[in-house]
């Protein structure tokens, strides 16, 4: 009898690895490397106000002073002298899809972005290399007073003061070397403001595509959700694969007002030549709720730890994450939570899968301050090894400074349980199907939180092809 074999395959990347050859005449680029002149050139090109140029140059100084992290995956293959920090398509940002240049439009259409916008999104921003090429918001959302625009428009328009008050206040350039780099060369990204009491019923989405070889993408996302407001924001990222290193050092700053709620979902599927050194941080006021849903599938190396500061009393955060590390990938992901308000609570649930020599590390830091009375923390992380050439580590740190706290943590690393397979087989399920079912179930409670219904692309990311023997 012919037996079907099952296996957990890598994510099918063919959808993302297509690329259009970029012609130099269609793009404006700065030189490779990082110098004050390049920073000035970017600033001039973006029509920055004077304070932003000063900020960029100061950030560059900080970048040159700070050291590369000595505790995470090796990033010695990343040479900033080879990275082009600004690549701008020679097209203006368009508000109608038909006006976007064909090559770029075709790229996003293959990724399913316009389809998703038509069916289930309140607004979309699409960034190609360093700048947004398309931005649109539904009329009914605009009518609610929601502002959703690109960062450059916000910075040079009527929201300049709001940007100035918040820009890199949560993630200062001194935070780490790549935050400083971001401060120096950032471009693109989205600005969102949700007025008090406004509930945006359907999500907004930004999609980031890095198409140029040897380039960096440094988008800045700034979201302000006012008191009592509610927003779901989705971020998607992808790039075709090149033989040279690409760099993503974006920055996300989220301000969640009193009794507001923000869900921030990310599906990250950068190509496997990408160094993903991204920084995300949120701060919650009294009674606010921050929800992170994070799927990490791509990149050669990732350092990604969305952070939440529960400053307000009764504020709450949830972090749900899944990481899939395959051949050639070293994905160091996790979260940081700082609880300083009273009666704050946090819940972390992560899953990671390693296969084909991939390295997956869950890293976290939970800090409960002296004034965080009645704080509650629950952390659960599970890792599944699918073969004996992969690696999986968990490095969760907890720093508790008050006696009036309840902190629980559990971690588990292992392979597919023989007992579970035996149980399922005793119910008439074949061994192969049983194993496939277990892997699917392992990821299910995290993957079901992913907003798959909102974008066609995300469906493709979580496909685990389950035919045959595992491991």
């Amino acid at each position: 009898m012919e037996r079907e074999r099952s296996e957990v395959n890598d994510i099918d990347r063919s959808l993302y690895d297509f690329r259009y050859e970029e012609k130099d005449e269609d793009f404006y680029k700065v030189k490779e490397g990082l110098t004050p002149d390049i920073v000035r050139e970017i600033s001039k090109e973006k029509h920055d106000p004077a304070w932003m140029l000063d900020f960029r140059l100061k950030s560059l100084e900080i970048y040159n002073e700070l050291k590369v992290p000595d505790w995470g995956p090796d990033i010695s293959g990343l040479n900033m002298d080879d990275i082009v920090t600004y690549v701008k398509p020679k097209t203006k940002m368009q508000a109608t899809w038909e006006d976007v240049p064909d090559d770029i439009k075709n790229t996003f259409e293959r990724l399913g972005i316009p389809e998703a916008e038509r069916t289930s999104l309140a607004g979309v921003g699409a960034q190609y290399d360093s700048e947004l090429v398309y931005h649109n918001v539904k009329e009914e959302v605009l009518a609610q007073g929601v502002i959703y625009t690109d960062m450059e428009s916000a910075l040079t328009g009527e929201y300049e003061q709001m940007v100035k008050d918040h820009f890199m206040k949560l993630v200062p350039p001194t935070d780490h070397k790549f935050a400083a780099l971001h401060g120096a060369v950032w471009s693109g990204g989205s600005f969102v403001y949700v007025p008090p009491g406004v509930k945006v019923e359907i999500p907004l989405q930004s999609y980031f595509r890095l198409n140029a070889a040897g380039a960096g993408q440094f988008e800045h996302t700034l979201i302000i959700v006012s008191e009592g407001a509610d927003l779901h924001f989705i971020e998607g990222c992808s790039a075709p694969k090149y033989n040279v290193a690409n760099l993503h050092a974006g920055c996300v700053e989220l301000f969640v007002g009193k009794n507001a709620r923000l869900r921030y979902s990310t599906i990250e599927n950068w190509s496997k030549n990408m160094y993903n050194l991204n920084t995300k941080r949120s701060i919650c006021e009294d009674g606010a709720t921050m929800e992170w849903v994070s799927g990490s599938f791509g990149s050669h190396v990732s350092y990604l730890y969305p952070m939440t500061i529960l400053k307000g009393n009764d504020s709450h955060c949830e972090f749900t994450g899944i990481t899939f590390a395959g051949a050639g990938q070293n994905l160091d992901t996790g979260t940081k939570i700082m609880q300083t308000g009273e009666r704050t609570s946090s819940f972390v649930n992560t899953k990671s899968i390693s296969k084909s020599g991939g390295i997956s590390t869950f890293r976290s830091a939970v800090t409960v301050g002296e004034r965080a009375k009645d704080a509650k923390v629950s952390i659960s992380c599970a890792s599944l090894m699918l073969d004996d050439i992969s690696r999986s580590d968990t490095i969760p740190a907890m720093d508790i400074r008050t006696n009036e706290a309840d902190v629980g943590h559990e971690a588990k690393i292992g392979r597919i349980s023989d007992d579970a397979v035996f149980y399922l087989m005793s119910r008439g399920i074949s061994e192969e199907d049983a194993k496939a079912m277990i892997v699917s179930g392992f990821a299910d409670n995290v993957s079901k939180e992913l907003p798959l219904e909102y974008a066609v692309e995300m469906n493709n990311l979580i496909q685990l092809e389950m035919k045959g023997a595992i491991g």
């Binding site: 890293r363 090894m385 580590d393 508790i400 706290a405 292992g414």
Partner: protein, 364 residues
Amino acid sequence: MMRVNRLDSPTWNALKINDAVIADDITLNASGKAIVEKIPAGVIIGNESCKDCGGCDLKDAVDIKSIKCGMGEEADAFFTEASKDVLMVHARKGREVSEPVNIRYLMENGDYNADRVEILAEEGSSITVIMDYTSSRLDAKGFFGVQTKVRVDAGATVHLVKVNLLGSDFLCLDDIGVTVADSGYFNLTQMCLGGGRNYIGTAVSLDGYKASYNGDMGYLCLNGQSLDMNYHIAHHGRKSGSELQVKGALRDKARKNFRGTIDLIKGAKGASGNELEDVLLLSDGVANKTLPVILCDEEDVEGTHGASIGRLSADMLYYMQTRGFTKQEAELLSTKAKLNSVRNLIKDEHTHGRIQYFMEEAFK
């Protein structure tokens, strides 16, 4: 300055948990006493010079100096320099020693000393070694350091007990390194109640097939006491197993760091490592840092970690209060219960008595 308890898998430097720094200039004065209280039949006690003279069986003892300890290289160099002689405890092949070997260190106010101990359990032997460090004054000041290297041969069992009852102004370094061969079993019971600043490093290398380790640690940190721990359990052997339970309480301005690494190394098929930490925080102003690490380089293994940190659970407190206990009494009772669960693993009445006395005095 000495950098100790360094993690093999460091994390964010800002957390200040990747290692510990001892800035003290430690000048030893060779004071204090080491007393070997009992030498049961089947055990040989000696020192390095004794080994070299060739007059007894210790000459056959294989050098175990290459065993790595938990506090790291700088501490290793310190102990090598500080203590020229080594106290050797040797259980001969196949001998099951029922009585424990008691090694007592009496460290009084002003004593600054360090020692090295090597324990060798030959194939099929079994031995219990109890090491306690005691000051007669609760507020005694001084320094005590001890490095203990243990080799557990195939099928052998070593139960090592360490009890710290030093004065509250003592700086104490307790550095342990262990290797365990096929089907060997190393059982480590530790109680850290005394001392002012305590550093404990424990490295266990489970080299053999079905080599196993069980660790139980109970601690109490009051007032300005601090405790810095680093455990590294390396699973090399197939079907090797480890269990580590760490429990204790912090009160006043006490500080505690716990690093526990289960390292499941490629080739350790069928290995299993579990660690559990239970910390009771009794007052504001305490600082508890916990970093439980699992490193996994092998598919056919299981590693788990669990931690519970905080106050007495609401259910437990309610239950106790319905029985007439105040919150403070309930917390005290719970703390004693945690520590007694570790103390009860020590099968020696005299040591029990000393621990009991110390705990009663500490809680006054």
